[in-house]
């Protein structure tokens, strides 16, 4: 369902970025990069909240005509950004309902990011992985691919 999934380091350089229609890769790079503006904004807005109360899921970062960009930030300020095709409304509709109900955790977006986060944690646990390097993990890759294909 996602068309592009990116992991961005604390310093805002991409650790991992993958998109399904490869011909549009550049567009997604630009899009994810631009979305960091909103991520920064959201992070600084919730900066005052206590760490344990902070919701990691940032929700919809910014919509474009064709895509919706969702964000998630870990406590170590690593960001996950997911671009979803606007015509895929499943995510959005559930999103609206859940968000208006005030429960992020029931949103499919939250769950997807949760999965991504877990997989990222696995990458970090690899003793051969240097934090800050680009992620080149087959397991992570497979997980991301599964999230791109899967229809929610």
């Amino acid at each position: 369902m996602a068309v592009c999934i990116a992991v961005i380091a604390k310093e805002n350089y991409p650790l991992y970025i993958r998109s399904t229609p490869t011909e549009n890769e550049l567009k997604f790079h630009y899009m994810v990069h631009t979305s960091l503006d909103v991520v920064d904004e959201k992070i600084s807005a919730m900066g005052k909240a206590l760490v344990d109360q902070r919701e990691l899921y940032l929700g919809l970062l910014y919509p474009t005509e064709d895509y919706k960009v969702y964000g998630y930030v870990t406590n170590s300020k690593v960001k996950f950004v997911m671009v979803v095709d606007s015509s895929n409304t499943a995510l959005r509709d559930n999103e609206i309902r859940s968000v208006s109900a005030g429960d992020w955790r029931t949103t499919p977006g939250w769950w997807m990011f949760r999965k991504l986060h877990n997989s990222y944690t696995d990458v970090m646990c690899n003793p051969f992985y240097n934090p800050g390097d680009r992620i080149q993990s087959r397991a992570f890759d497979n997980m991301v691919m599964s999230m791109m294909i899967q229809v929610c």
């Binding site: 380091a9 310093e11 805002n12 350089y13 991409p14 890769e25 550049l26 790079h29 630009y30 990069h33 631009t34 960091l36 503006d37 909103v38 920064d40 904004e41 910014y62 919509p63 474009t64 005509e65 064709d66 606007s86 015509s87 409304t89 509709d93 609206i96 800050g132 680009r134």
Partner: protein, 1259 residues
């Protein structure tokens, strides 16, 4: 807005709408009350409790009071809520029973019947009481009666449906009270009616909604129904609830569209799939867009119409709710979803139509928001609106591209046609905005009218957007819009304007390491720079692109070719050089020195091999690659020694350079690693350490401003250094990937050479690596020739041949044939010339290069060693045997021991002397061929032996014992021991008692030799002996040289025995053996053995009639506490100096233990009278002597136990005498002069018979 066919026009000016309340009965009465009523009703809020668990609300009620007509009552199935009368009131002032019965009752009944016919139950009868009226008539019934009647007649069980309002127009407390009660009732009833009727309406509505799956269900119909509810809520000022209605409609519609997309199509939806013919944008300036509403009502609305209408309503409500920012946010969502929905429903849209619609809508929303907020509010909420700005910009841009307004030539006819079509779809401008100069409609129309106007509008919008993004810190978004702008400028052929935006964007991407955007932007920048004719910048960007792995091979080749063709074509201006940074062209991977420690001597050859990884996609021919080298005469000569180098350089001489990942996280390597070095500052005068610390050598890199570091792309940052020292390599073809390039240089001046820059020249293009980091240095040194002489073993031993190593470090001196070392011979050291001496020549790196025979020629004074020829910076090593001749060094040391009387003391000295060998230094001065000065070398030899002697006596017979201690690690073979008496004592005979002539002495072991002394005449007072013994290392069978023996000289004085002391113990009389606890007698006999001798002539000697006397003191001491000496244990005696003169002393002793006990010691001293002549100078000595004696005795006394009390007192007296009176002195007799004939004797002591106490002590 009157519709003629309706009985009452549906007055829908929302704000003016109020719930309708009808009034029947006395119209005049009502008219009189109306002003107060309409004023009072909304004054106080009322709590509205609501069904479906919705939260209760406080609500201010207002009503529209209209005259009751039957037509007002809704017919069955009427869905109109706005015109629904919520309450019917009957007004009467009647207070007369008659009148009531005559008219009012009938009227009421008729009214009730009408209501009942329409099943309306929301009614109220108001009876107004007027005191004034009452007073007029006397036969008036009490007010209550009429009310009761009415209640009786009409309010069947609902007595509260009839209220009394008394004196409504007066100003009294009663009136007030009555009003309050009435108003409360009225409000309550109104709310009840709302609850009931709205509830019913909602139920109906829901039922209708549930039917949505049935065929024939129409969304538009349903829309109108739910909107009615929204209207009512809005009428009641419950905007939140009203908004919910619209949101539900919105969601319902969206869901249908989604389902349609999923293949679940609803029939009614096809209405919305009509091709888009009008794209006039949102209209938000009216509360209700009646035009659109009617379209929906007539089921003729298109999707855009429906969406527009829905949004305009939502917008109105949100603005009522003071939430303008939500309007902006929802607007963006709406615009996006509309575009999506049209796509999903496959609605045919003329190209550009949607762009127009979106553009107009964006501006409309923005203007609407601006219209209801002040500037400050807008400025602080840019984050909400900027999305719309950006979207509008984007859409205008695409319109511009579509209509050919961006091209250089302007629109062609096809473009113009398209423009006309688009403008036609906008329709005419709406009357609301007709007078507004900046209306979205006018803007769009103008923008599409001409190239110039478009440019103006587009730039305005873009700049505004960029400014807004920048002001709220969304730099990335701003840069992204800027890139669009740059693209626009490029299309307009004004690259100079585009450049700044591209550079800005590129900087952002570089700073955050986004590879693909970097590549893309760089490509745009390259084109821009090419147009601008910025040759250097273009070449640099091209080289970066040529090395960019994100581009295709063809693209990379193209950019590479761009660089190369420039390099080849330009030859007209020879001095012109283009300096580009190296890292895009090639990267330095590693560097390898040969020799690997990167140290060469002057004239030596150094080769530097570098690995350059070419980033170019094709092989590149490079005319020259040069390394700029900085030369410094390093003062620290230590650095140049090989020792330093082995410690500090990588062992294999390879220096690796960190791989520069150019597009990868720039943020990570913004700061270079700290280059830290130890720092020692020494005082110039004495070279002592003043300060030490750590310095950072690249502070200038770390502390510079951050902005400058991002000028990665600026070629001006690279300065080409011109240095005198260069390493060059010409005509190299760099293949893509790793290339090895070798530089060779001959070292010239000594010093430190630092590799600074790497520069590759291709035509006039120079690719420069401005700093080679980490620091790479090589050293050139010049060394003075040196000679080292050192023993091969740890220490050299005297007396036997030892090997000494000679090391000649040639340094810059070349050893020619005939050069020799001239050694001036030391007297006691021989240089042994062996037949075969070989010298080995090593190169500077300790590799053996050759060996040669060494010629050593010795003459009396000089030994000449002719060196084999050796080139500069080599090492000649050879070994020579040297022999230190044993001199007679030991005697001086030993003579001190001579007079030491106490054997114990002597023993101690020997121990402390330990294993230190006596050493001799031999200085050799060597003349070297490279210097006019002689080198003096000191060699230290150790004597392997130490010898001590001792005198042994038995009676008058004398023996000399010599102890030879081997101190070395070697074993030796000793031979030919010999002792001769030197001096004048010819009479003395030395008879060796040593049996073996050859003896082995092991390492660290002693060997003893004994000689007996014999003489025939009077013995000489002193013996000067010289001991000599031949030795050779035990391991070596045969030595080429004869070795000199080891000698030892000593002197023994006063060795002749003068006195014989004999002690005997006798058991008590009558007993055969001594017993413990019983007194025995000790008899000491001191016998003079010789007549007057030379040695007796001292101050103790007294001459009395015809015989000489000397004074002696004896002392009986038992150190082992076996005996208790009773009575006097010491005493002075006068001894005649004559042979066989005997003195006997008896004393009592008591054995304390049983067994064979050694006898107590008897000591004999010379008792010297006080001598005034000596006192002045000898006093100190004597005192010390006495003191030491007395101290010794005190110690004895304590160990003796209680037996020697009397003796103690004697000494304390004597010590008292020390101070005032002249004291006689005691002098121990030399050991040789006293012979204790009872030494070693033992006496058997039996245990006493009656004493069987066994002491057992357990510790």
């Amino acid at each position: 807005m009157a519709a003629p066919e309706e009985p009452l026009p549906p007055v829908i000016y929302t704000m003016e709408n109020k719930p309708i309340v009808t009034c029947a009965g006395d119209q005049n009465l009502f008219t009189s009350i109306y002003p107060t009523l309409s004023q009072q009703l909304p004054r106080e809020p009322m709590e509205w409790r609501r069904s479906y668990g919705r939260a209760p609300k406080m609500i201010h009620l207002e009503s529209n009071f209209v005259q009751f007509k039957e037509e007002l009552l809704p017919k069955e199935g009427n869905k109109a809520l706005l015109t629904f009368p919520f309450l019917h009131i009957y007004w009467t002032e009647c207070c007369d029973t008659e009148v009531y019965k005559a008219t009012v009752k009938d009227d009421l009944t008729k009214w009730q019947n009408v209501l009942k016919a329409h099943s309306s139950v929301d009614w109220l009868i108001v009876v107004v009481e007027n005191d004034a009226k009452k007073k007029n008539k006397t036969n008036i019934l009490p007010r209550t009666s009429i009310v009761d009647k009415i209640r009786n007649d009409f309010c069947n069980k609902q007595s509260d449906r009839c209220v009394v309002l008394s004196d409504p127009l007066k100003d009294s407390s009663r009136t007030q009270e009555s009003w309050n009660a009435f108003l409360t009732k009225l409000r309550t009833l109104l709310l009840m009616s709302f609850t009931k009727n709205l509830g019913k309406f909602e139920d109906d509505m829901r039922t209708l909604r549930e039917k949505r799956t049935e065929p024939g269900w129409s969304f538009c119909e349903y829309f109108m129904v739910q909107e009615e509810l929204a209207f009512v809520f809005e009428m009641l000022q419950q905007f939140e609830d009203a908004l919910v209605q619209y949101d539900e409609l919105d969601a319902l519609f969206s869901q249908y569209v989604v389902n349609f997309g999923a293949g679940d199509g609803a029939n009614w939806l096809t209405f919305f799939c009509q091709p888009v013919k009008s794209w006039s944008g949102l209209i938000l300036r009216k509360p209700i867009d009646m035009e659109k509403r009617e379209l929906i009502q007539r089921q003729e609305a298109t999707l855009l119409d429906l969406r527009s209408y829905l949004f305009s309503r939502q917008c109105t409500l949100l603005l009522f709710l003071q939430r303008p920012w939500e309007v902006a946010q929802r607007a963006l969502e709406l615009l996006h979803s509309c575009v999506q929905e049209l796509k999903l429903l496959e609605v045919s849209v003329p190209p550009g139509a949607l762009d127009c619609w979106v553009f107009l809508s964006c501006l409309e929303v923005l203007q609407r928001i601006e219209g209801c907020c002040d500037r400050a509010q807008i400025d602080s909420n840019i984050a909400h609106t900027v999305g719309l700005w950006s979207y509008a910009t984007e859409k205008l841009k695409s319109l511009g591209y579509l209509c050919g307004l961006v091209s250089e030539k302007g629109p062609n006819s096809e473009d113009l046609n398209r423009t006309v079509d688009l403008l036609a779809g906008l329709g005419a401008e709406r009357p609301e905005t007709a007078n507004t100069a900046q209306s979205p409609y006018k803007k769009l129309k103008e923008a599409l009218s001409s190239v110039e106007a478009f440019e103006k509008h587009y730039l305005d919008l873009s700049h505004a957007t960029i400014e807004m993004y920048t002001s709220i810190g969304r730099i990335r978004s701003a840069k992204f819009v800027g890139k669009d702008l740059a693209e626009f400028y490029m299309r307009k052929k004004s690259p100079q304007k585009a450049e700044i935006y591209l550079q800005g964007a590129l900087k952002t991407y570089l700073a955050e390491g986004w590879a693909l955007p970097i590549t893309h932007t760089r490509k745009q920048l390259a084109e821009c720079q090419k147009h601008l004719g910025q040759t250097e910048n273009y070449l640099q960007t091209s080289s970066l692109l040529a090395s960019d792995y994100h581009l295709t091979e063809e693209q990379r080749k193209y950019f590479c070719q761009e660089v190369l063709s420039f390099a080849h074509q330009q030859s007209d201006s020879p001095g012109h050089r283009v300096v580009l940074p190296m890292h895009s062209f090639a990267q330095l991977r590693d560097l390898h020195f040969d020799p690997s420690n990167a140290v060469v001597h002057v004239g030596g050859i150094l080769s530097v091999e570098i690995t350059l990884c070419s980033q170019m996609p094709v092989p590149v021919h490079v005319e020259q690659i040069a390394i700029n080298v900085h030369f410094s005469i390093e003062k620290n000569t230590y650095r140049k020694t090989a020792e330093w180098l082995t410690k500090h350089k990588t062992s294999n001489g390879i220096i690796k350079f960190p791989v520069e990942t150019s597009p990868f996280p720039a943020s990570q390597n913004i700061l270079p690693a700290l280059e830290l070095y130890e720092m020692f500052e020494r005082s110039p005068s004495d070279n002592s350490l003043n300060t030490t610390g750590i310095i950072c050598r690249n502070v200038h890199m770390l502390l510079r401003r951050q902005e400058s570091s991002s000028s990665l792309e600026a070629p001006s940052g690279v300065a080409l250094e011109d240095g005198a020292h260069m390493l060059r390599c010409s005509n190299v073809t760099l293949e893509p990937g790793a290339n090895k390039i070798t530089f060779r240089t001959q070292a010239k001046e000594p010093g430190t050479y630092t590799l600074r820059q790497l520069c590759a020249s291709v035509g006039p293009v120079r690719f420069v690596l401005p700093h080679i980091y980490p620091l790479v240095q090589y050293d050139v040194y010049s060394q003075e020739p040196q000679l080292h002489v050192e023993p091969l073993a740890d220490s050299l031993l005297a007396g036997i041949p030892q090997k000494v190593k000679f090391t000649v470090t040639t340094g810059h001196y070349t050893v020619r044939n005939g050069d020799s070392l001239q050694l001036s011979n030391a007297e006691a050291m021989l240089i042994l010339c062996q037949a075969e001496n070989r010298a080995v020549i090593y190169s500077n790196t300790r590799e053996k290069s050759s060996d040669a025979a060494l010629r050593v020629q010795s003459s009396d004074k000089v030994t000449s060693i002719s060196l084999p020829p050796a080139p500069a910076y080599h090492v000649i090593e050879f070994e020579l045997d040297v022999l230190s001749l044993p001199s007679v060094p030991a005697a001086g040391g030993e003579s001190d021991l001579r007079g030491t009387p106490e054997p114990q003391r002597k023993h101690k000295d020997r121990q402390t002397a330990g294993h230190c060998m006596v050493t001799t230094d031999h200085k050799v001065s060597i003349d070297c061929p490279w210097s006019i000065y002689s080198t003096v070398i000191a060699l230290t030899f150790s004597v392997p032996f130490r010898t001590t002697h001792s005198l042994l006596s038995t009676g008058t017979r004398k023996y000399v014992q010599l102890c030879v201690q081997n101190l070395s690690e070697l074993d030796f073979q000793l031979s030919d021991s010999n002792l001769v008496a030197t001096g004048d004592s010819t009479d003395l005979q030395l008879i060796p008692l040593n049996t073996e002539s050859q003896q082995c002495i092991c390492s660290k072991q002693p060997v003893f030799f004994v000689w007996e002394l014999r003489w025939t005449q009077e013995p000489p007072p002193a013996l000067h002996g010289q001991f000599s013994i031949g030795f050779s290392p035990a391991s070596e069978e045969r030595l080429s040289v004869s070795l000199k023996p080891y000698t030892y000289e000593f002197q023994v004085e006063n060795y002749f025995t003068l006195y014989n002391v004999k002690a005997e113990i006798f058991p008590p009389s009558g007993m055969q053996h001594c017993r413990t606890g019983l007194l025995c007698s000790l008899e000491v006999s001191i016998t003079r053995l010789s007549d007057l001798l030379e040695v007796d002539k001292d101050e103790a000697l007294m001459e009395s009639d015809q015989c000489f006397l000397t004074k002696l003191m004896y002392e009986v001491v038992d150190n082992s506490s076996n005996w208790a000496v009773c009575g006097k244990s010491c005493g002075a005696i006068s001894m005649p100096v004559a042979a066989r003169a005997t003195h006997r002393v008896r004393m009592d002793v008591m054995p304390l233990f049983a067994g064979h006990l050694p006898l107590p010691d008897v000591r004999l001293f010379k008792y010297l009278p006080h001598h005034s002549a000596h006192s002045s100078q000898l006093d100190a000595d004597s005192w010390i002597e006495n003191d030491s004696l007395s101290v010794d005795r005190h110690g004895d006394e304590q160990s003796d136990g209680g037996s020697g009390r009397s003796r103690g007192s004697v000494h304390s007296a004597s010590s008292a005498e020390h101070k005032g009176l002249p004291m006689p002195r005691l002098q121990a007799l030399p050991t040789g002069q006293v012979f204790n004939s009872s030494a070693g004797m033992q006496v058997l002591v039996l245990p006493s018979q009656d004493n069987h106490v066994l002491e057992v002590s357990v510790t």
